[in-house]
Symmetry: C2
Subunit: 249 residues, 2 copies
DNA sequence: CGAGATGTTGAATATAATCAAACAACGTGG
DNA sequence: CCACGTTGTTTGATTATATTCAACATCTCG
């Protein structure tokens, strides 16, 4: 009988545990904000966390809505975007597993977030998260560090949007994604592009046609190969970085 | 005699006091990061502070240099910029009195900062500043708040750079400067443009010629008047905001 | 298998960059 | 004080290039 009781408890817990198991065994445990906490401290985070799943193109938060929750993405990809009244859209960034959603905002979300494909994340009510942040200074420091990194990235993006030609923009995007893949212990090539061309266009300030033509140019120059539109092999990473106008790194 | 001694002390102090007098009487006391501290607490900040002055176009920090100091601008204007190897430049923002320089960076400066005209600022060694930030949690919180605001601004800039037409870019720039002037208790119009056209171009991702032509268009549409190139009267703020593709606010 | 969504390519058009020149403002030195 | 060169701004003509409009190809999925 005791065994049965234990089993019930086990099956109840998944409602409030991380998508890939408890935080302790989570894929992004070492890179997300929760890495600031020791294993016994994450339990506090876990206790206010709700695991959430999104379908492709499902909207998670909408620009202008009150900021009621913050999130850590555990799998999949999110696009962050801001829009104009006439429908024009700028994607300000793509979130990968381990990234935090809610760094920039105070009272209301200033950007929308949608899932590119299926995605999973941990949701935290802001009030309870704020309390935890006060309780664990390391957590606050790590959030601040993430915010600074996001600010540097946003400024880098200003350079890309304001001063790079279309092929240069695309090259810099591919190098960025490749570098991020490496941070996630994935191969630098081929790089996976789960988002449609329209998203890349709205991220780089171009039209879909120009994005497509820029891919073709990079392919014709032998810098990349495209087994399919959503998978890009980087043939010459150094030359690609040079096209992007970036130091070889 | 006592009078003479007091006079000597008075003339010695300026070496280590804020440009406009002690912190307690500083112009930006209420808006800069130091507003987080009570009057008796700012003394700690004052004690590690060095007043600095810059001439027009003098470089304060250079992209890539080790981040040894952080600053609060007390008068004048700074331009923040990032550059490409071939000389192309993107200005990521203009700093006004009360703004903090050093929000985004960790070990090294990721952007250069130069004075637009003559400028004055408070300089703080990072090591000592870090210690004060730990000592005064309110100071850390205010810095974090500033960083979040800078991130929101940088994302707004991505929209402007990626999706607005030249006249729209310029209109949004003028509205931004006007709003910031109001925050500084200055009139919303005329707005002062101390920077050259080349800076505006590098901020908006345009050429100087296109900036100039866009000014002419706004003038011909009766939205602004230009008594001289560095002073812009906003004739129809609502229409200007509409051109910028922004909500009327 | 067909229909819609997504991606690529082609031709045209619009538009910002480039090249060039005129003009104004300013400080310097004769 | 004025001529002069310098710098910054504006305007004009031309060119390069990304967008637009259009067609076609490819892929997905009922």
């Amino acid at each position: 009988m005791a065994v049965v009781i234990r089993a019930v408890r086990e099956t109840d817990r998944p409602l409030y545990r991380a998508p890939c198991g408890a935080c302790a065994t989570c894929d992004v445990r070492t890179m997300a904000v929760c890495a600031a906490l020791a294993d016994d401290e994450v339990e506090a985070l876990e206790s206010i966390m709700t695991a959430t799943h999104l379908q492709a193109n499902e909207m998670l938060v909408q620009e202008g809505d009150p900021r009621s929750k913050v999130f850590t993405l555990t799998s999949g990809m999110l696009r962050l975007s801001v829009g104009l009244p006439d429908g024009r859209r700028q994607i300000t960034g793509f979130l990968l597993p381990g990234d935090y959603l809610g760094l920039a905002d105070d009272e209301i979300y200033t950007a929308s977030a949608e899932a590119v494909g299926a995605a999973a994340l941990c949701a935290f009510p802001v009030r309870q998260m704020d309390a935890l942040v006060e309780r664990f200074p390391k957590l606050k420091d790590r959030l601040h560090r993430f915010t600074r990194a996001a600010l540097r990235q946003a400024r880098e993006n200003q350079l890309i949007l304001g001063r790079l030609a279309p092929v240069e923009k695309l090259a810099s995007f591919l190098v960025l994604l490749s570098d991020r893949a490496v941070e996630h212990r994935l191969p630098a090539s081929p790089v996976s592009l789960p988002m449609p061309r329209a998203d890349i266009a709205d991220y780089l300030g171009l039209t879909v046609e120009t994005v497509s033509r820029s891919f073709t140019k990079l392919r014709n120059q032998g810098l990349v190969a495209m087994p399919d539109p959503h998978s890009i092999e980087i043939c010459d990473r150094r030359a690609l970085a040079a096209v992007a106008g970036l130091p070889p790194h």
